[in-house]
Amino acid sequence: MNRVITSMALLVLGLVTALPALAQTGEPIKIGVIQPLSGPVAASGNYVRMGTEIARDWINARGGVLGRQVQLLIEDNKSDPKEAATAAEKLIVRDKVPVIMGAWGSSMTLAAMPKLEEYGVPMVVETSSAASITKRGNPWVFRISPPSEMEALGLEKYLKDFGIKQADFLAVNTDWGRGAATAFGDLLKRSGAAVGATEFMDQAATDMNAQITKIKAGTSDTLFLTTGVEQITLVLKQAQEQRLARKVITTGGSSSPSQLIKQAGPAAEGTYHILFFTPWFPEAMPDGKLAKTFVDEWNKRGHPFEGLTEGFRGHDGIMTAADAIKLAGKPDPKAVRDALWKVNIMGVNGPIRFEKDGPAGKESGQSKPSIFIVQIRDGKIALPTFAAKK
C-alpha cells in the first residue's frame, strides 16, 4: 500500500515539475516592436510593421525559433518620444519581452534607450540615423540602419558627379534632422563645397513656405532634405509653388519615392533619394534572391509598393532579433544581448554583423548597411545617370 502511495506521489511530483517545461515549449517567444503607427510619421511606421509581420510569418513557417512560434507585440509610439519610452517600459515590465525592435525616429529611440539600460533588455534599432544612438555608451543598443555619418560617406563617391558647389539644408527639428544636417555639412566642407542656410521644421509642421523663401534667397545649387515622406511631399510641393530651383537630395532612406511620385507628382521630378533598399531593382541587392522573394511576398499581401523602402527594415530587424534568440538558446534578455554580437545573417539590405561603437566598455552594436541612391526621372524611379555608368 505504502509503495503505491509513494509511487503515486512521485508520479504527481514528476508531472508537476514537468508541467511548466511542457507549457513553455508551447508558449510563443515574444518580440517587442515599437513603431510610429499614428501621428505625423505614421506612414513609415506602418510600412515597417508590415515588414516585421512578413519576417514573423516566414520564421514561423520554418518552425519558429527554438522550436517555438514567434509572436510580435507591436506598440504605437504615436510619433512621440514620450510615448516611445512608455511603450518600451510596457513591453519590458508587463509583457517581459527578451528583445525589442524599434523605434523608427532617432528622438523616439533615444527616449526609449534609458529603459533598456534600466531593465537590461536589448533593442535592435532598424531606422534611426542620429550618431548619438550608438555613441552614448548604451550596451543594449544594436543598430542595423546607417548613422548619418555613414550615409554621408556613402554619398561621397558621387559628390563630383553631383557637382555641388554650395548646399542648403532643410531638416526636421529632431535628433535625426539635426544630426543629418551636421553629418552631411561636414562631408561637404571636407570636400571643398560650401554650406549655405541650415533650416529646421517642426515634425508636425505643414507649412514650410517661410523656410523655402529663405532658402530661395540664397545662392546654393543643392538642397539636402531630411524628414519623413509626409513632410518631403509638402516641401517639394511648396518648393514648386515658389519656383525654388535646386537639386534636391533626401537623406535617411524614408522618402518612399514611389509615394512621392503619387502624392507630389511633378514636384518630385528630378529629385535624388538616398535609400537602403531598391525594390525596383531587387536583383541589384547583395542577396538578390532574398530581395526578390521579399518584394513578391509584399505584393502578394497587397501592401502598397511605395512602402517597401521602409518595410524591409522591419524584416531585417526581426530576423536579427530572432537569430540572436536562436544563438542565445533561450529567450533571456541578457543572453540575447550577448548573442547579438554573434549574429551574422543576410538581410534584404545586405549582411548584418555588429561592430563595436561608442565609449570603451559600454559599446553599442553597429552594423554596416548598404547604401543606394536613386532619382525620380520622367515619373519613374531610375538610377542616377552617373551611378548607372559606374
Binding site: P36, L37, S38, G39, P40, A42, A43, G45, N46, D76, K78, N173, E199, F200, M201, D202, A204, A205, T206, D207, N209, A210, Q211, T213, K214, K216, A217, E230, T233, L234, K237, Q240, E241, Q242, R243, K262, Q263, G265, P266, A267
Partner: protein, 290 residues
C-alpha cells in the same frame, strides 16, 4: 525686398487660415462659455469628408467642400444636443473635461476609420504657380485665401446684421432676459456650436488639399486656433480674425529672419507678451461678440 514680399504673402495666406480656425473657437467660447478642445477634430473631419466625397462619391471638388462643411455642422449640432445640453449649468471645468474626452474619442475614431498613413487630396487647380513680379503663389492657396476671407466676413455679417446674430449676441449677454424676449436658448446654443464646428470643418476642407490628411492633423490646428483666440482676446471675433493674420505673419517673419528652428516659439513669445501686457487680448477695445 523680394524675400520680404514673399514672406509677407506667405504669412498673409497662412494667417487667413489661422483666422478661420480661430473665429469658430472664439465664437463657441464667447457665446456658450464652452472651451472646445475638439475644435481641431472638426477640422480633421472636414478634411476627411472632402477626401471621402472626392474618392468615395467622386463628386466635384467644389461640391465636396460645402458637403464637408455640412457634415461638420451636423456633427457639431449632434454633439451639442447629446453632450453639451445636459451640462448647460455645470461648471466650465466639467464641460472642458467632456470636450477633451470628445477630442480623444474623435481622433481615435478617425485613426480607426482611416488608418494612420497620410492621404493626399487632388484638386482641379494647376500645380503651376501664379507669378506676380518676384513673388509666386499656387492657385489653390489663392482660392483658399479668398474663400477663408469670405467665410470670415460672412460670419461677421451674420453676427452683426441678422436677426439670428442678434439673438446669439443677446443670449451671450443675458440668457434669462433673452429667453424672456422669446429667443429659444436651446436652439441658439445648437446653432452656435454647429456654426463653430462648421467653420472648423470649412478650414479642414480647404486646407486638407493644401497639406496632407492624417488623424492627428487636428492637434496642430487646435494649437493654432487657441493661440489665435488668446492673441485676439477670448470671445473677441474681430480679435480672432486679426490675431490669425498677426500670428501667421509673425511666424513667417520669425522663421525667415530669426530662426526656423524656433518658428513656433515666435508665436508663443507674442502670446506670452500679450498675456503679460494686454491680458484681455491685443484687440481688447475692438468690438466684442455681444
Amino acid at each position: 525686398m523680394e524675400q520680404l514680399l514673399q514672406h509677407l504673402l506667405n504669412g498673409l495666406l497662412l494667417g487667413a487660415t489661422y483666422s478661420l480656425l480661430g473665429i469658430g473657437l472664439t465664437l463657441v467660447f464667447g457665446l456658450m462659455n464652452v472651451v472646445n478642445f475638439a475644435h481641431g477634430e472638426f477640422y480633421t473631419l472636414g478634411a476627411y469628408a472632402v477626401f471621402a466625397a472626392l474618392v468615395g462619391a467622386s463628386v466635384s471638388f467644389f461640391v465636396a467642400i460645402p458637403l464637408a462643411i455640412a457634415v461638420g455642422a451636423a456633427l457639431g449640432a449632434l454633439c451639442e444636443r447629446v453632450l453639451l445640453r445636459p451640462l448647460r449649468d455645470e461648471s466650465i471645468d466639467t464641460v472642458m473635461l467632456v470636450m477633451i474626452g470628445l477630442w480623444i474619442a474623435m481622433q481615435n475614431a478617425e485613426l480607426l476609420g482611416w488608418g494612420g498613413v497620410a492621404k493626399s487630396v487632388g484638386t482641379p487647380f494647376s500645380t503651376q504657380p501664379v507669378v506676380l513680379g518676384h513673388v509666386s503663389v499656387s492657385p489653390l492657396r489663392i482660392f483658399v485665401f479668398v474663400v477663408s476671407a469670405a467665410f470670415i466676413v460672412g460670419a461677421h455679417l451674420l453676427l452683426a446684421r441678422t436677426k439670428l446674430g442678434r439673438a446669439m449676441r443677446a443670449t451671450f449677454q443675458d440668457r434669462e432676459t433673452a429667453a424672456l424676449m422669446g429667443v429659444s436658448i436651446e436652439r441658439i446654443h445648437t446653432i452656435t456650436f454647429a456654426f463653430g464646428a462648421g467653420l472648423a470643418a470649412a478650414a479642414g476642407a480647404l486646407l486638407g488639399p493644401v497639406f496632407l490628411l492624417y488623424p492627428s492633423m487636428g492637434d496642430l490646428a487646435s494649437l493654432k486656433a487657441f493661440s489665435v483666440v488668446i492673441l485676439g482676446g477670448l470671445g473677441n471675433f474681430a480679435g480672432a480674425a486679426l490675431g490669425g493674420i498677426v500670428l501667421g505673419v509673425a511666424e513667417e517673419l520669425g522663421a525667415g529672419y530669426v530662426s526656423s528652428g524656433y518658428r513656433d516659439a515666435v508665436g508663443f513669445v507674442i502670446i506670452v507678451a500679450v498675456l503679460l501686457l494686454r491680458p484681455s487680448g491685443l484687440f481688447a477695445r475692438a468690438e466684442r461678440v455681444g
